[in-house]
Amino acid sequence: MDIVRVISKRSFVLGLPLLILILLATSPLYAPPYTVILLTSIFMYIIITVSWTMFSGPTGYISLASAAFFGVGIYTSAILGKALPLPLVICMGGLVSFCLALLVGALTLRLRGIYFVMFTFGLVELLLHFILWWEVNITGTTGRVVPTVSNTTVYYLMLIIFVILMLTTYLIKRSKYGLALQSVGQEEDAAAHTGVNVTMVKVMTFAVSAFFMGAAGAIMATRWTYIDPRIAFNPLISFLPVLMAIFGGMGQLYGPVIGAAIFTYLEEFLITRFPYYYMLIFGIIMVVAILYLPNGLVGVIQKLWKRISERKHADT
């Protein structure tokens, strides 16, 4: 069987993801609860990583604010959770993050990339300190309790957000805005002189990516039940997506997905075996990936693919 021909067929490319989707959608029915929880965590990281790549991939502006948007989503859920139905809370979480991103973007995206990185880097600490101060001095309580929701519900919500995100990313990439985004990342001046409103393109894409991170945060809050600023604004959530995206490869749509999936699974695996060393291992993998795998797993897969196809053509 000619495997190259099979994989290149249109029906395969459409059929395989659909099959996987159906498997995932029905998994709570046949999979053990632990797997469902693991899958939820994997989805969380996939959502954050793909959202991050949506903006930082094409433009080259490295955002380190993911934890800030995620944390805002968590807190929105905590504050509104008792008052509003869950789907609305999730939308609100996304919306608040969206607005925050608009503000940050309008402030920093008209300047050189380095200001953007620095500002987003500090945003997490800023929000952490601010909310901590607010809770200590104004509301008098630290942390909040979030109404609980069943694990299955959380899983399905994450799955839905994941699907919406993948669709959004795919549509943007194929549209003229995706083209504009690429052009801004490759030659910003030329793009501006070709009629692209570069600031608007950058800010809107950044805000859309923040929306999804906020929505994911709002959902995950219900699983943790108790949250406080230090839990919600964890700088690790800003660094891990970068690592996962680089590891998976940012050239293709599926790169961040497999990067995040593999990494999250790896984390679960390492946490149980080496509870003290796993962060260290992560750091080392991060440095190695940045230095030696510039195109990530996608790059490796593409090279392999080329070699297989070439060998096929050499035979004929």
């Binding site: 003229k176 083209l179 690429q182 030329a190 793009a191 501006a192 070709t194 009629g195 692209v196």
Partner: protein
């Protein structure tokens, strides 16, 4: 009414006046050549017109409207397109996509993807790059990259086209092709301002020349008048024997 006019346009870099109190007019449909020694302020003037830079003082008007201080994308959508002295194609995008971007975001808003693709393909045909439409722009020769920039600018459907040294680095055959392309662009009714150092090209294509030196206009007139002007020869052209090369 001239399609482009500037009054008192001034730009400083630190203490140096790159463009100094410049007045200029460009009539619709003409081809104006902009020449002068390196550092005379020619590209700076382009940057001021296309709003890559903001002038310290002075006004620039396009079709009667004040465009000073507007953002570059707005000026492009009004009908001013340009190429760059250091070629700025989108390196990792195929040639066709480079041009499609111009169709999508230029003067006509809301083009369907089919129309934009068609217009881009026609533009590529016009400049002679149809053969490489799927090649990533970074893999083109310099001459082709310059042509790609022209195609991209044309795709925005401009009324005024600023060409910045499109013939620099080209061999004589390529220069001939570029000259022919400029003539064909003029036949479409597009007004052109060209910065060039290749004298043969600019003297043959343009009907009026403006000479800049240290940011100020030192001469303006027909190619005949410019090549015989003592001032210009002294400052820039050198002896008459070299003026033809």
């Amino acid at each position: 009414m001239p399609i482009l006019e500037g009054k008192g346009v001034t730009k400083y870099f630190g203490g140096l006046a790159a463009v100094s109190n410049l007045d200029f007019n460009v009539e619709r449909g003409e081809a104006l050549g902009l020449i002068g020694p390196n550092g005379a302020g020619k590209t700076t003037l382009f940057n001021l017109i296309s709003a890559a830079l903001v002038p310290k003082s002075g006004i620039i008007r396009f079709k009667g409207e004040n465009i000073t201080g507007l953002k570059p994308y707005k000026i492009c959508r009004m009908g001013v397109a340009r190429t760059f002295q250091t070629v700025k194609v989108f390196p990792d995008m195929p040639v066709l996509n480079n041009v499609v971007l111009g169709s999508y975001f230029g003067t006509s808003t809301n083009m369907s993807s089919a129309d934009a693709a068609r217009e881009a393909a026609e533009t590529l045909e016009f400049v002679g790059l149809s053969g490489v439409k799927a090649t990533p722009a970074k893999d083109l020769t310099l001459a082709n990259q310059k042509r790609l920039e022209v195609a991209r600018a044309l795709a925005t459907d401009p009324e005024l086209l600023l060409l910045d040294e499109i013939m620099a680095g080209l061999n004589p055959a390529e220069v001939g092709q570029a000259m022919e392309l400029v003539t064909r662009i003029r036949e479409k009714g597009i007004t052109i301002i060209m910065i060039e150092h290749v004298m043969k090209a600019i003297m043959n294509v343009c009907e009026r020349i403006m000479v800049l030196h240290h940011g100020a206009k030192i001469a303006e007139g027909t190619p005949q008048e410019i090549t015989t002007s003592k001032k210009v020869v002294e400052v820039y052209l050198g002896e008459k024997a070299h003026a033809g090369s």
